[in-house]
């Protein structure tokens, strides 16, 4: 089944209608920051969908900070990527033109994080250059991904080496050097020890790795 997920807000019915006309889909899910009753235009879209016997899904974003919104959009996309009853995978299409600036940008960010096909449907329809199925995870080797996941909230070198087994100490140290060079790992000095921590970029990479781990390949 093809699922069209579109960001949405008051006055955005035209943008969603553009997406509905241009993109193939079987189910429409709107993602909005405002409650359904405050989104004018929703009724019109629901009426159009009803004519062909479909209902419109509505998901509300509650977070206000950029990365909270990104995480919520990712959760919604992850939920929509599987049929709740059968577990069969759905094809996802994402339109980022509706809603507030922060919601649209967060959806764009989420599309790249998860490798979801995305469009900007407004006066023109623009397909975004998200490579289908390619995510930030593709940047890393298996060992690098494992180490980024193993660091968690921070860990000392012996702890990291322990968590990286069966890879040896030398391999773990090499990966630490590689990730440091990429600006994904930093060190924090504590009394009597040094802790390895993720930088903000490293934390985003770890989130992307987690997200990719939750999604089975399509």
């Amino acid at each position: 089944m093809k699922v069209l997920v579109s960001t949405f807000g008051p006055g955005d019915a035209g943008k969603v209608l553009q997406a509905m006309a241009a993109l193939p889909y079987n189910r429409l899910i709107l993602v909005a920051e405002r409650p359904a009753e405050e989104c004018d235009g929703l009724e019109r879209i629901a009426r159009l969908e009803d004519m062909i016997g479909r209902t419109v899904g509505f998901e509300r974003i509650v977070g206000t900070k950029f990365m909270q919104v990104v995480d919520e959009v990712c959760e919604i996309l992850d939920r929509c990527s599987r049929n709740a009853g059968t577990g069969v995978r759905n094809d996802l299409l994402l339109n980022i033109s509706g809603g507030s600036k922060i919601l649209g940008d967060a959806a764009l960010f989420a599309a790249f994080r998860l490798g979801v096909t995305a469009y900007h449907c407004d006066r023109r329809i623009t397909r975004l250059p998200v490579i289908h199925g390619a995510t930030a995870v593709d940047r890393f080797t298996k060992l690098q991904s494992k180490l980024l996941s193993a660091i968690g909230d921070g860990a000392t070198l012996p702890e990291v080496v322990d968590r990286m087994q069966p890879a040896g100490k030398q391999a773990a140290e090499r990966v630490i050097r590689e990730l440091r060079k990429q600006g994904l790992l930093a060190s924090e000095l504590e009394p009597g020890r040094v802790r390895l921590v993720l930088t903000s970029q490293g934390a985003e990479a770890a989130r992307a790795i987690r997200a990719a781990g939750q999604r089975t390949p399509s």
């Binding site: 900070k65 940008d105 764009l108 623009t126 250059p129 390619a134």
Partner: protein, 219 residues
């Protein structure tokens, strides 16, 4: 430093202040043609930013966007400028994507992701600066050199109807090799096969518009 600007200089100026040693600011602005007050408001905001930069000794360049709702054209313009600065060996400290129309902001974010530029947002209400985690997607990490070569060739010849066999002959590769690469490119959503306009038995290879955004000027 790069930025986008709408009606509020406050969406851009905090980043100029918080970024050390800014030598040059390039910002993108454009007026919504449907709002009669927009040209005045954008012009006032631009003037305020230019004045601020002048008093700080920062070279500021305002780039007028002919259509601040044309997502693709804005993304191509910004990417071209970013690449030019990179080629000239200039370090890009940060891109503030808070101002301007929604398509302008989203196009700027897209370029930041493709080019790996640190990105910052200014919260509408609190004026707080939010640094976004760097999420870099480089096409050379997801496309093989052969796939890139095929895409570049298709983009350069996008107005020519070309079958798989013709493509193979033009790029000097065996048909089976091209078939293998095309299968991968179709799966990645970079190209598609369409019916030949004159011969229903044949299919032509079409490169998607988004591929131009992905490869940028490299074509």
């Amino acid at each position: 430093m790069f930025g986008t600007l709408g009606y509020r200089p406050k969406s851009l100026i905090p980043t100029i202040r918080s970024t050390p040693n800014v030598e040059k600011l390039v910002f993108y602005c454009g007026a919504d043609p449907s709002d009669p007050d927009a040209p005045t408001k954008v012009s006032e905001a631009k003037k305020a930013v230019l004045e601020f930069c002048h008093s700080m000794g920062i070279n500021a360049v305002a780039v007028e966007l002919p259509d601040p709702f044309d997502f693709k054209s804005i993304a191509m313009t910004i990417r071209k400028d970013i690449r030019k600065h990179k080629r000239d060996g200039k370090e890009i400290a940060v891109f503030n994507i808070a101002g301007g129309t929604k398509p302008t902001s989203s196009a700027a974010l897209l370029v930041c992701i493709l080019e790996g530029i640190p990105t910052v947002y200014i919260h509408d209400v609190t004026d707080e600066e939010i640094h976004l985690p760097l999420l870099r997607m480089e096409y050379n990490q997801v496309l093989s050199p052969e796939e890139r070569e095929i895409l570049r060739f298709l983009l350069r010849n996008r107005n020519t109807e070309m079958t798989e066999v013709e493509l193979a002959s033009n790029v000097g590769k065996h048909k089976a090799t091209i078939n293998h690469h095309l299968k991968n490119l179709i799966a990645k959503g970079a190209v598609r096969l369409e019916k030949h306009p004159k011969d229903a038995r044949k299919k032509v290879v079409k490169v998607l518009d988004s591929t131009e955004l992905l490869l940028g000027e490299d074509t």
